[in-house]
Every structure is written in structure tokens, then in C-alpha cells.
């Protein structure tokens, strides 16, 4: 029950203000179609750079929680999910909106997001410390395989083509080798002064997530989307609360499935929402109403995508493998504040980490209150025109990038990487494995070189990397995940 001791740190005026601001901005950004939670958190990192670690993490955590819930607003009102996590919400949510029950649907969303979110954070609280102890057994070779595993899982789950996903990850790893060798300290691949320090993680994050969105908004500016904004309608809060809690089955299926999927590295909210929706539909006695405005569908999907948030941080804090794409960005946030995931995270950075986890509970409460308040006024959020949004994101990306090291070269790197990624994504490459490659690259290389030296001293480096229970387990999971990726993409193509 150690987590109870750190609530004092959260309840300061400054931190509460950060929570309110982060939650409000998160819901609005989440609701804007085209702005993903991952990009919102990436754009926010430069602002947290100048804060104390716990304050910065509180803001990032509040944003992560709120953007996932906020995506439901556009899913319901215009049938465009604000984020991939809200795809399942749109199925029944928009149908309810068409019947004039948008506000009721939004109430269900935020209430079930709250329940799922709290459940997820408690899973995080109780499962992280024992797993952190397990990570003590990880030496150089194991840590090398862990970083390869993180990239492999995200690469195979996040892309349609396993080969392209893996290539994206390798491209990220290659980018990470620019600059100094982590062991020898010798420079390589520095062809111009702009690349002298290598590629900064946050610069990569902002470029890879923000630039493609800017160019996408501009490219599709004139294509008619046929969006019809549904009327908000009316509903009372007490009725909504009573109704959501009467659907105990949908709530619990959503929360449990969301948590389990959150722990699986790389899986993320999109899958959580869809699986929970599907399971609730299967279990329900009368499923003829699903897809036509069944509230249970919304409750299951939303409780699942928010309960994913807490558990997605479990593998992140213990093994530095993010449980979702946004968690990958959060890993960048942790590293720039000097917090390195692993067994000692609950000893050396005890105060920061527990304060951060406690703030996630409070963030859920704020998300509920602000979300319910905004659901009445949510229509105006949808009215931000795409051209303003594109200009705004581009400027924030440029200013944010510059502010990290007061370096113009970073702006050039951010812009060129992002533009390259935009055209890469047209060919089926995904930015998430690239980012993970940049983040985990130094860890992979350092441990590879150390392992190699130890192995050579022992006589056989290859054997050193491929023996030991943990190594074999990690390698097997890598292989299984690639095999599963190939299998599921074949299946998707055939159907």
C-alpha cells in the first residue's frame, strides 16, 4: 500500500492545475479527428522539459488518459474516431447520436472510461513492483533481447506487412546509431555538423508523429468528408450513472480485457476496444441491437480502451517495453527526465514514480468531471477547420523542437524525418516502430557490445547470446510474434 503515501505530492495547487489543464487540453485534442493521442503527447514533451520530473510526468499522464477518452466525442458526433482506440465506440455511439441521444452516449463514454481507467491504474499499482524485481535477473544479453523484442512486437502488431514493420524498426535502430558509439565514444555516420549529436529522441518523436498529420490535413483539405454533426440531445447525469452501473457485465468485460491487452507490449487501445466490444456482443442475450445504437457496446469499448492506459505502463516501467504506441512516446518523456525503467525504478526514483502513478488515479476523476461538462458543449470542438489545425501543429512542432536544445539543426532533422515518414506511410511503413528503434537503439547497442565482449572472453559470443532461460524465452517470443504477424496478415488478406 505504498502508493497511498504519495497523494500529498499530487494535491498541490500547481499539480492540480497541471492535471486540470492537461485533462482539458487532452479531451479537446483527442476529440479533434486527425490528432492522435500519440502525437498530442509527443508535442507536449518539450513543455515538460523545463519542469521537475514529477510535474512533467503528471502532465503527460493526464494528457494520455484524457486523449483516449476524448476521441469518443468525434466518434459519436461525426462518426470519425478521434483516435484508433475509439473505432469500436463509433459503431454504436454514432447510431445513438443519430437517434438524438448523443449526450446520453457521451455520458456513458466518460463514466465507463472512468471505471475502466481506475481499474487499470490499480492493476498497474499491484503488478508493477513484483515485475520490477524480476527485471533484476536481466543482464546485458537479456536487455539486448528485450529491446529487440519491444521493436519486434510493435513492428508486427502495428503494421499490415510484417516485413515493412520490421524494416521500419530497423530504420529507427539505424538512425539511433548516428553520433557516438555508446561504448567506444567514437563518432560515426556524422556527415554534416547538423548530425553531430545524433538524433535526439524528442526531435524524432515530434517529427515522426506531427509532420505526417500536418501534410495529411493539407493533402485531404478539399476532399469532401461528408461529415454531419449530430445534435447533442439531452440526458440527466443521475440516470446515466445508474444505467452504466446497471450494465455490470459489459463494464467488467471491458475493464478486464482492456487491462490484459494493455499489458501485452505494443497492442494498444484499438485492439482493446474492438476485442471487448466483440466479447460483450457474443455474451449478450440479444445482440440484434449491436451496431444500431446499443449502449452496452459503448460501455464495453470505452471501459476497455481506458483500462488499457494503466497496464500499458507495466512493461514500460519494468522492462522499458511500451504497452501501446502512446506509451512509447511516454518512454521518451521518462528518459529525458533521467528516469530509466528497470528494477531500481521503485528505489532510486521512488517518489517520482509513485507520485506519477497516484496522479493517474486523480487524472481519471478529472477526466470524468471535465468530460461530462464538455459533453454538453462538445459540438464547438468539431468546428476547428483543418487548415488552422495544420498550421497550428506545424508551428507547435517547430517551436517545441527548437526549445529542447535551442538548436536549429533539430528543426531541420524534425522536418526532414517527418516528411520522409509521410511518404513512407503511403507505402505502408509505420512511424511507431521507427520511434521505438530510435528510443531503444542506444540500449540495444550498448548491451549488444557488452554482451559481445563478455561472450568473446568466454569463448563463444553467439552461444552467450542464445543460452539461458530468459534469453531463450525472449527469442521464442520474438519468433512467435513474427509468426503470428505473418499468419494474421495472410488471414486478413484472404478474407
Amino acid at each position: 500500500m505504498e502508493f497511498l503515501n504519495y497523494f500529498d505530492n499530487v494535491f498541490t495547487v500547481y499539480h492540480l492545475a497541471l492535471l486540470v489543464g492537461g485533462t482539458f487540453a487532452g479531451i479537446v485534442l483527442g476529440a479533434l479527428p486527425g490528432l492522435s493521442p500519440t502525437m498530442s503527447v509527443a508535442l507536449l514533451i518539450p513543455f515538460t522539459f523545463h519542469m521537475k520530473p514529477e510535474s512533467g510526468l503528471i502532465l503527460l499522464g493526464a494528457m494520455y488518459t484524457a486523449t483516449v477518452a476524448g476521441g469518443a466525442i468525434s466518434a459519436i458526433l461525426v462518426n470519425v474516431p478521434g483516435a484508433p482506440a475509439n473505432i469500436a465506440t463509433a459503431m454504436d455511439g454514432h447510431q445513438m447520436a443519430k437517434k438524438g441521444k448523443a449526450r446520453e452516449a457521451l455520458h456513458y463514454c466518460f463514466i465507463s472510461s472512468f471505471v475502466g481507467g481506475i481499474f487499470g491504474v490499480f492493476i498497474l499499482i499491484f503488478f508493477t513492483p513484483p515485475l520490477a524485481v524480476l527485471s533484476l535477473k536481466f543482464m546485458s544479453t537479456e536487455l539486448f533481447w528485450v529491446s529487440i523484442l519491444g521493436i519486434t512486437i510493435i513492428a508486427t502488431l502495428d503494421s499490415k506487412s510484417v516485413i515493412k514493420g520490421l524494416l521500419s524498426g530497423l530504420f529507427g535502430l539505424m538512425l539511433a546509431t548516428i553520433g557516438d558509439n555508446p561504448i567506444l565514444g567514437v563518432e560515426r555516420f556524422v556527415f554534416t555538423d547538423h548530425l553531430a549529436g545524433g538524433i535526439n529522441i524528442v526531435v524524432g518523436l515530434i517529427g515522426l508523429f506531427a509532420m505526417p498529420q500536418v501534410l495529411n490535413l493539407l493533402e485531404n483539405y478539399y476532399s469532401d468528408k461528408n461529415q454531419v454533426l449530430e445534435a447533442i440531445g439531452d440526458s440527466t447525469l443521475s440516470q446515466s450513472f445508474k444505467f452504466v452501473f446497471s450494465k455490470f457485465k459489459a463494464l467488467s468485460i471491458g475493464s478486464v480485457i482492456g487491462s490484459v491487452i494493455g499489458i501485452i507490449p505494443g497492442a494498444g487501445g484499438q485492439i482493446a476496444g474492438l476485442v471487448a466490444y466483440d466479447q460483450t456482443k457474443k455474451i449478450s442475450k440479444d445482440h440484434s441491437n449491436y451496431g444500431k445504437g446499443e449502449p452496452e457496446g459503448i460501455i464495453a469499448a470505452e471501459s476497455a480502451n481506458n483500462s488499457m492506459v494503466g497496464p500499458s505502463l507495466i512493461p514500460l516501467l519494468t522492462l522499458s517495453i511500451p504497452g501501446s504506441p502512446t506509451a512509447a512516446v511516454l518512454l521518451g518523456g521518462l528518459l529525458i527526465h533521467g528516469i530509466f525503467p528497470g528494477h531500481d525504478i521503485f528505489t532510486t526514483n521512488k517518489e517520482v514514480v509513485w507520485t506519477f502513478i497516484d496522479s493517474l488515479i486523480i487524472a481519471q476523476i478529472f477526466m470524468l468531471i471535465i468530460g461530462l461538462f464538455l459533453s454538453k458543449h462538445s459540438a464547438w470542438i468539431m468546428k476547428v477547420p483543418d487548415n488552422y489545425m495544420a498550421g497550428g501543429i506545424l508551428l507547435l512542432a517547430v517551436f517545441g523542437t527548437y526549445s529542447i536544445q535551442n538548436n536549429y539543426s533539430d528543426v531541420l532533422i524534425m522536418f526532414s524525418l517527418g516528411t520522409l515518414m509521410y511518404f513512407g506511410s503511403k507505402a505502408g511503413f509505420s512511424p511507431v516502430p521507427v520511434v521505438l528503434g530510435i528510443i531503444l537503439g542506444p540500449m540495444a547497442e550498448r548491451n549488444f557490445l557488452i554482451g559481445n565482449m563478455i561472450g568473446n572472453a568466454k569463448g563463444n559470443a553467439f552461444l552467450h547470446f542464445t543460452s539461458g532461460t530468459i534469453n531463450i524465452t525472449l527469442i521464442s517470443i520474438c519468433i512467435i510474434s513474427i509468426a503470428y504477424g505473418v499468419y494474421s496478415s495472410r488471414k486478413a488478406r484472404n478474407s
Partner: protein, 158 residues
């Protein structure tokens, strides 16, 4: 009709050939990198890049044989003006200054990308867009220079 179908098929075939050629080029480049890592004097420094270059070469060869989805087409007509302004902005940023440059970029983007249904009164639209540009730039100034204490390069005019 048959003719159009044939032309379409030809375009798809050409695209596939382009993809195949670019995959082969990447394979060649990474194979070269792999080879270079042995030749350069300090090979320990290039040990990890060698591993990656080798894997990339192997995977792109596999990609050559993969029957993947075709690339998404790009609407260059609508993308080009925005991309061109953005490139000019990034390159000129240091010379004309961050704040002035950003004002010009934002205003140019919202003026060039505008839908006819917004309003028929040109001057009204212009004034609104100019207002939003100034307010947004001032917000950036408040956030970055006043709160975060980041000094943005002023350029020629400060």
C-alpha cells in the same frame, strides 16, 4: 472500356516495377554498408550497424518477393502548395526570425487553403484570418518566450 482497363493495369504494373526497383536499391545500399563495416579500420565501432545493415538487406530481398498492397496514391495537387511553403518556411526561418516567419507561414496556409463556402466577403475573411494568426503567434510567444524562457532566433528584423 477495355482500353481504360488496360491502361489502368499498365499503371499498376509500372508502380509495382518502381517498388521492386526501389527495394533492390535499398538492398544494394545496405549490402554495401554491410561490406563497408568490414573494410573501415575501426570495425568494432561499426559492429552493431553491421548487424542492422545485414538484416535490412535480407528483409528487403524478402520484400521483393512479397505480394503486398499497392501504395496509397498522393494527391500532389493539393499537397504541393502547403509542402512548398513549409519547406521555404523551415529554410528561411533563421534568416527572417521565428516569430515573423511563423506569422507569415500560418497566414499563408490559411489563406491558400480556403473553401469557398467560408464566406463570400473577401476582406472579412482576410481580417478574421489575420486576427487568428496574430493571436496564435502571441500565444506561442507567451508559451515559449515568457513561460519557458526559450529565446527564439530573432533574425534580420530584431
Amino acid at each position: 472500356m477495355a482500353f481504360i482497363h488496360l491502361v489502368k493495369q499498365e499503371i499498376v504494373n509500372n508502380m509495382n516495377t518502381q517498388i521492386k526497383i526501389s527495394t533492390l536499391i535499398i538492398t544494394a545500399v545496405s549490402a554495401l554498408l554491410f561490406y563497408a563495416s568490414f573494410v573501415i579500420g575501426d570495425s568494432e565501432n561499426y559492429l552493431f550497424p553491421r548487424l542492422i545493415a545485414g538484416t535490412i538487406a535480407a528483409l528487403t530481398l524478402l520484400l521483393y518477393f512479397e505480394k503486398g498492397d499497392p501504395d496509397k496514391s498522393t494527391n500532389f495537387k493539393d499537397l504541393f502548395p502547403g509542402l512548398a511553403i513549409a519547406i521555404a518556411y523551415i529554410l528561411l526561418l533563421k534568416i527572417i526570425g521565428f516569430y515573423l516567419g511563423s506569422m507569415i507561414l500560418f497566414f499563408a496556409l490559411v489563406m491558400i487553403y480556403s473553401k469557398s463556402k467560408e464566406s463570400t466577403d473577401f476582406w472579412r475573411v482576410l481580417l478574421i484570418k489575420l486576427g487568428v494568426t496574430i493571436v496564435f503567434t502571441l500565444t506561442l510567444y507567451g508559451l515559449f518566450t515568457l513561460i519557458l524562457n526559450v529565446r527564439m532566433p530573432g533574425g534580420l528584423f530584431y
